[in-house]
């Protein structure tokens, strides 16, 4: 049996580990939320009608690291007149820490990755859900991309139409290692400018 003194020393080391883990999780979520705010600001500069809509983690922000985390921004066309929207403009940030169900990381590196997408939906019956947007990255959806998804700033085009040829989703996806997202300038230049500036028209 170890003495109480030895036990105490071991517990001190355990406490240090816990503290380090705590700080890393907390810092990660602080940065994720702060990054979302910077995205919101850059999007707002382009078109104030693109508004933050929802996020996947509705629980406490600080310490609840899920396998993936999503923020969705939305501009629903027609909604401002009180009508049911038939088309939407969506921007999503999808952060993948580890594989979950059909959503797998694209790269083989250990680190978490972030995918940012712009999607325009047409002839929709219901507003797109955060889940549906996230599942575009699912393995079953890979066939709907024009080329293999690659991490590091390459844009891949996504296209889907329902069986009746009515509802349609047209999107562009761009992905980076999460650690590549360094500041607001990077968000603007390497993500938003690439995804949105070209061919973007305010509705």
């Amino acid at each position: 049996m170890e003495s109480d003194l030895e036990h105490g020393k071991i517990m001190d080391q355990a406490g240090k580990n816990i503290d380090q883990a705590y700080k890393i999780v907390r810092k990660t979520y602080q940065e994720i939320n702060a990054m979302k705010d910077d995205f919101a600001e850059v999007l707002r500069e382009i078109d104030p009608s693109i508004e933050f809509s929802e996020e996947y983690s509705y629980g406490p922000k600080s310490l609840y690291l899920k396998d993936w985390h999503v923020f969705l921004f939305r501009r629903a066309v027609g909604e401002e007149e009180g009508e049911k929207p038939t088309e939407e403009f969506l921007v999503a940030l999808i952060i993948i820490f580890s594989p979950w169900a059909h959503i797998k990381k694209i790269s083989s590196t250990n680190g978490p990755e972030i995918w940012i997408c712009k999607i325009e939906t047409k002839n929709i019956k219901e507003k797109a859900t955060l889940w549906e947007v996230s599942l575009c990255l699912g393995i079953d959806e890979r066939k709907n991309f024009d080329k293999k998804l690659e991490i590091g700033g390459t844009i891949s085009n996504y296209h889907w139409k329902d069986d009746k040829g009515e509802e349609e989703w047209i999107g562009q996806f761009i992905g980076y290692p999460l650690t590549a997202i360094k500041d607001k300038a990077f968000i603007k230049k390497e993500i938003i400018d690439k995804l949105l500036i070209e061919n973007y028209q305010k509705k």
Binding site: I10, Y22, R44, L63, K66
Partner: protein, 312 residues
Amino acid sequence: MFVADLKEKLTLHEDVSEDFLTSSVFSTFDFLPNIWLKKFLQTSINLNNNRLDFPLVENKFLFWKQFSLPSDFGRGVEPDLIIFAGNTAFIIEAKFYSGKSGIGFIEEKVPPDQLKSQLIDQLAREYFLGRYILLDNEICVEEKLFNISNFFLILITKDSSIPTNEIQESIDSIGKIEATGIEMATNKIYWTNWQKIIPVLEEIIEKSSEESFERKISQQLFDFLDKRDLIPFTGFDFLNSCSLELTTTTNEPIFYHTQKRTYWSEELFKEPLHFKDPNIFYMSTIKQYWKDIAKLKCPENSSKIFYQIIGR
């Protein structure tokens, strides 16, 4: 001065209190040389995207002072803080989780059976405080006289960008009372956020000696704001370097265990740590587990992580 807060001795109400946030931040600035307050306030912008600029002078703080307003300008008003500096008054309205108090106007009954429109918009009332009570008046604060010939109203929030709609609503309300006041109000109402204090504090910490008062108090305010997530985005570089060095066989950062999908499960604490009861660090719904965790010599707050994780 922040120790009770940083050591989790305060209530949840105090944790999210905008009054506590306001007094903590500005009391700190009151102790620091003027240049640092100036640096923070100069991050403010108005709806024309003009940045606030003003000379550096000695100042006095007046917290939560109630003022009556002429009847056309709504009921009284109590700004969170007014900073008097030279000939300028800075009216500070601080927000944390709540929005501004009152929007636009309400209809009030006045005898005999008539309705009168009453301004309730908080920023608009504070603008009129500056315009008609402070401006061109002599104000005495702590036995020091200030001849006010200029004023600014600064809204501080945790928004990432200027809340245009909120400010425009207030300017519109001002315009309904005083059509000529719209341009002046647009030039007088500014906005900044709490997050912009962090770079100022980082500069103080970097430039001050380790044992200096400035550094210590700035570090405490930094921790205070960090605890409330009032920090700007600084990137994820830290994930490249963090590692818990958990076992002799792996040195992977805790998030990145893509194959095992374990963040906080048994892998984290299995080897080489040796506990009397090796099970106490396992994910568990047994109450005793959490009691044992609480006995560990963890730095404060740390055991909270497990309470969150069990919800997965």
